[in-house]
């Protein structure tokens, strides 16, 4: 007898199973305006919370006078660090971020006091009346200087360097002596902001048991809870977390923002408290992408084969630890990209400064290095007389190659093939110059075609998927199957955060496929089910997808066992189309009849294969779970006289292992590519002496529909045998490779070195 309990079940195409372009279950609510985002929550008696933030990058607080603020009519509470009920610091990797500043501020925008009032304007006026006696200090803002003298430039007591991760392979000195061609470069990356459109927001509701119900927009409910509860002085079971509608995340919601503050105000006033940041405050309310300073040197044979590489990558994490240690690990382990390099030395540093705080953003440490190593590949190619595709193909890693960490890539990584396919894609036509909208500057009418030069560039990126370096990374799913209205119906319950990426759709697809049931509902994400881990590192399709699949398999096994008993058969059974299907006899029973009044429910945790930390001296180890590749070709038209760039077309080839939902997947590739375009050409938080100069959408530019060109996509499916359905995380890789491709294209058009992103007009025109 064969047991069918482990067999997969297939849903016919078009029924919303795995592989179908199923539509979002929340799509209708989102187009009618009914979907409840965290900033839309309201119950009777709700107070408005607001936050007083530091105007200085570094200063001591000698005294705070709350009296005038408390005297404002309508103000219900004004709290400082003295009012934090429990632990006064929190953090993702290391608890060093004060809930509210304790005698000192270390970055502009650091929260100092919080207010609850009956109207946002009342709260704002109260904040204005808080008097602080400041001792302003000279900020520490030079990340390289911190690396050079970490003890002399301490923003944190534990020192100036968060993490230094070296990687050492082979003998660089010997390889350098043998090299026929040597190229070097210095590169820098400005601070990019996630710029999710839904501002940080949430509602805290005091409960009768002395605890709280928190409705927040986050990427990771359980990690929020682990940080929030101790600061509120409450056991975790008294803080009940529910995911409110999330208006985008991109890493910026992995750290806490308003959660503890709203909780403190609700506990103090006994009333519900809502905090909603405005855009200005949002720029100070979350961590950004680390800015980077990088030095690279490559040596090669004349025919372009790389013999050695060195890289120094300095990442400025700002004043608190956040996720900087893991960002450093990514920069170090992926710092030379998906190329075979026999001898190498990488040093990646994350440092504390008084610049804006940095942490997770889509691409997480792999983005910055990608700009540098891809710029180096072009430079090396030019020195060897080889084109951009050729130099990359010659050195391309593939399955069986070793990463810089010594980890062998043990699933398909068809980089050379991807480059070939990319280069073979048709090129866009020359612009129709009779329509100004096709030219750089567009309707600003800055040119009628004079001074416009076309350029083409290529970029390759490699990103680790899931949490690396030995992290116990898992997700949990509860799946329940029962009869409702005469039909079998499935409810999937996880704590995984839908942030716009389409995870709710995918959970439904998996349940339909695994259980052969059309009616599937994803319950609201909350902490009444086990940890799902973070919606980051492109990991949720893999991890929560894996957990939902495993829980469905357990449910299916029980249903099939019931069916065998009921039917008295040993046949090979499966579930499809709402029926129990026998391999020999076809449909033999309705699932609804097999279930009767019974509900079948199972909870499963899913873990990926274990990884290990990087060796602290050599950087070696099998640190990553899965690796994902994307390659881009950019075609640009540049007005070389004014320094204006119009991206004409972006083409991408990405290997995703398995297309789970083409519609959502394409959306991820388009959106990730657009964020890479932003980093290449416009997005930067400009900082001077630790102070942000452009905290608004007027001055911090993200791509509009006029900036983003049409895209060509070629999506490959080389399955990863270790992953559920063979899938490969897909959200981040496009964000890596689009940036260097666009910069290379602008270099091609202008001949300028362009060692910094974002490119500014003055870099092109000088």
């Amino acid at each position: 007898m064969t047991t069918s309990a482990t067999r997969g079940n297939v849903v016919a195409p078009g029924r919303g199973g795995v592989g179908d372009s199923a539509l979002r279950p929340d799509g209708t609510l989102k187009v009618t305006g009914e979907f409840a985002y965290a900033s839309d929550l309201w119950i009777d008696g709700t107070l408005f919370g607001a936050t007083l933030r530091s105007p200085y990058a570094r200063a001591r607080i000698r005294a705070i006078d709350l009296g005038p603020a408390l005297a404002v009519p309508g103000v219900e509470a004004v709290l400082t660090h003295e009012d934090v009920p429990g632990t006064k610091v929190y953090g993702l990797d290391h608890a060093d971020q004060p809930v509210l500043a304790i005698g000192e501020v270390r970055y502009q925008g650091e929260p100092i006091a919080i207010v609850a009032a009956d109207h946002p304007e009342t709260a704002r006026r109260a904040l204005e009346r808080i008097r602080i006696d400041w001792e302003v200090l000279e900020p520490i803002t030079d990340a390289r200087a911190v690396v050079a003298d970490p003890d002399g430039r301490k923003v944190q007591e534990r020192g100036g360097v968060v993490r230094h991760q070296p990687v050492r392979v082979g003998d660089v000195a010997a390889a350098r002596a043998r090299a026929e061609v040597v190229v070097s470069g210095e590169f820098s990356v400005g601070i990019q902001d996630q710029a999710f459109l839904g501002p940080e927001s949430g509602l805290a509701v005091p409960a009768e048991d002395g605890g709280l119900d928190l409705f927040v927009a986050t990427q990771w409910l359980h990690q929020d809870l682990r940080q929030i509860a101790p600061c509120l002085g409450l056991p975790q079971e008294k803080v009940r977390m529910t995911l409110a509608g999330v208006g985008g995340a991109f890493g910026g919601r992995e750290d806490l923002s308003m959660q503890i503050h709203a909780g403190m105000l609700a506990l103090r006033t006994g009333r519900p408290v809502r905090i909603v940041y405005n855009r200005y405050e949002s720029f100070f309310g979350h961590v950004h992408r680390h800015p980077a300073l990088m030095r690279y040197e490559y040596g090669a044979t004349r025919d372009g084969r790389i013999g050695y590489a060195t890289a120094e990558i300095v990442l400025d994490g700002g004043a608190y630890t956040s996720s900087t240690p893991s960002v450093v690990a990514n920069a170090a382990s992926l710092g030379l990209g998906p190329y075979e390099i026999p001898n190498l030395e990488i040093d990646a540093y994350g440092v504390y400064t008084n610049n804006p705080p940095c942490g997770a953003m889509r691409g997480f440490g792999a983005v910055q290095a990608c700009f540098a190593y891809e710029s180096m590949m072009d430079r090396l190619g030019a020195a060897c007389g080889l084109g951009p595709v050729e130099i990359r193909r010659i050195n391309a890693a593939g399955q069986g190659s070793k990463l810089a960490t010594g980890q062998v890539i043990d699933s398909p990584a068809p980089l050379a093939e991807m480059l070939t396919r990319l280069a073979a894609m048709p090129m866009p036509a020359a612009p129709d110059r009779t329509d100004l909208r096709n030219l750089p500057g567009g309707v600003s009418q800055t040119t009628h075609g004079e001074g416009v030069v076309r350029g083409v560039g290529y970029g390759v990126g490699i990103k680790n998927i899931c949490f690396s370096e030995g992290f116990d990374d898992y997700s949990t799913a509860r799946v329940r199957l029962e009869v409702a209205g005469g039909e079998p119906a499935v409810v999937v319950h996880t704590a995984a955060a839908e942030v716009g990426q389409g995870l709710v759709t995918l959970q439904e697809q998996i349940a339909r496929t695994e259980l052969g049931v059309d009616r599937v509902t994803v319950a609201p994400a909350d902490d009444r089910v086990g940890d799902a881990g973070s919606s980051s590192a492109s990991r949720q399709s893999y991890m929560t997808g894996g957990a939902v699949r495993a829980a469905c398999a357990a449910v299916r096994a029980e249903v099939l066992a019931l069916a065998r008993t009921r039917l008295g058969t040993d046949d090979d059974l499966s579930l499809a189309g709402g029926k129990v299907v026998s391999a020999s006899a076809g449909a033999v029973a309705a699932i609804a009849d097999v279930l009767g009044d019974r509900a079948v429910e199972h909870i499963r945790e899913y873990r990926h294969r274990p990884t290990v930390p990087m060796d602290p001296v050599t950087g070696q180890g099998d640190t990553h779970v899965q690796l994902a590749l994307c390659v881009h070709r950019a075609v640009v038209d540049v007005d070389v006289e004014l320094g204006l760039v119009k991206v004409v077309e972006l083409a991408a080839v990405q290997d995703v292992g398995k297309i789970m939902n083409r519609l959502s997947l394409e959306g991820q590739i388009h959106g990730g590519t657009a964020q890479g375009l932003g980093l290449a050409l416009m997005e930067e938080i400009v900082v001077q002496d630790g102070l942000v100069r452009n905290p608004s959408f007027t001055d911090y530019l993200i791509p509009t529909i006029l900036d983003m060109p049409p895209m060509r996509l070629d999506i490959l499916e080389s399955p990863d045998p270790h992953a559920p359905y063979g899938l490969r995380g897909a959200g981040e890789p496009p964000t890596l490779s689009s940036t260097p491709a666009i910069v290379a294209a602008v270099r091609d058009a202008t001949g300028r070195p362009l060692n910094r992103v974002p490119i500014r007009p003055e870099h092109i025109c000088r």
């Binding site: 305006g33 459109l197 909208r437 959106g671 657009a674 791509p703």
Partner: protein, 157 residues
């Protein structure tokens, strides 16, 4: 102050409005119409776009008092008795919605476009939607959706 105006065909009265409040604030906080979104509140992102006397505006840039006696139509007022408006149906079908925070504003702006220009070219779509920021989609599926919405609307004629 008291502000009286028509929203989605119904007369609405908002009392105790502070003079500094925006139309967006009154819609969201006083009338409970949460569809128009508060992404930047400075007229840069277009997420709060509503019709004011038939013209799309950023509700965050309109003082509440300016709405007195006028007609406002929000995303909640796009759907008709027969169901979703063409732009709503097309956005949901074409993958133009991810996080969805920009969607209500885009829908109003796109609805205005295909009402004025029944068969918009891509260049016209891009120009019309240039004031609406989306951080998730890279705009490709939004273009698909607006093209599709124009077809759906034409089919309804």
């Amino acid at each position: 102050m008291r502000v009286t105006f028509t929203v989605n065909g119904r007369e609405q009265v908002a009392d105790d409005v502070w003079e500094g409040e925006s139309l967006l604030f009154v819609l969201r906080e006083r009338l409970g119409l949460l569809g128009a979104k508060n992404a930047c509140e400075q007229g840069e992102c277009g997420s709060c776009t509503v019709y004011l006397d038939g013209l799309p505006v950023c509700a965050c840039l309109v003082a509440a008092g300016q709405a007195q006696g006028r007609e406002v139509r929000t995303v909640e007022g796009l759907a008709g008795p027969d169901g979703l408006a063409p732009v709503q149906q097309a956005f949901a079908e074409c993958g133009a919605v991810q996080c969805g925070f920009c969607t209500p504003g885009l829908l109003v702006q796109a609805d205005d476009l295909i009402t004025r220009v029944p068969e918009p070219s891509d260049a016209e779509i891009r120009e019309a939607l240039a004031g609406n920021l989306c951080r998730c989609t890279g705009y490709e599926k939004i273009l698909d959706a607006v093209r599709r919405a124009a077809e759906l609307k034409a089919a309804m004629r």
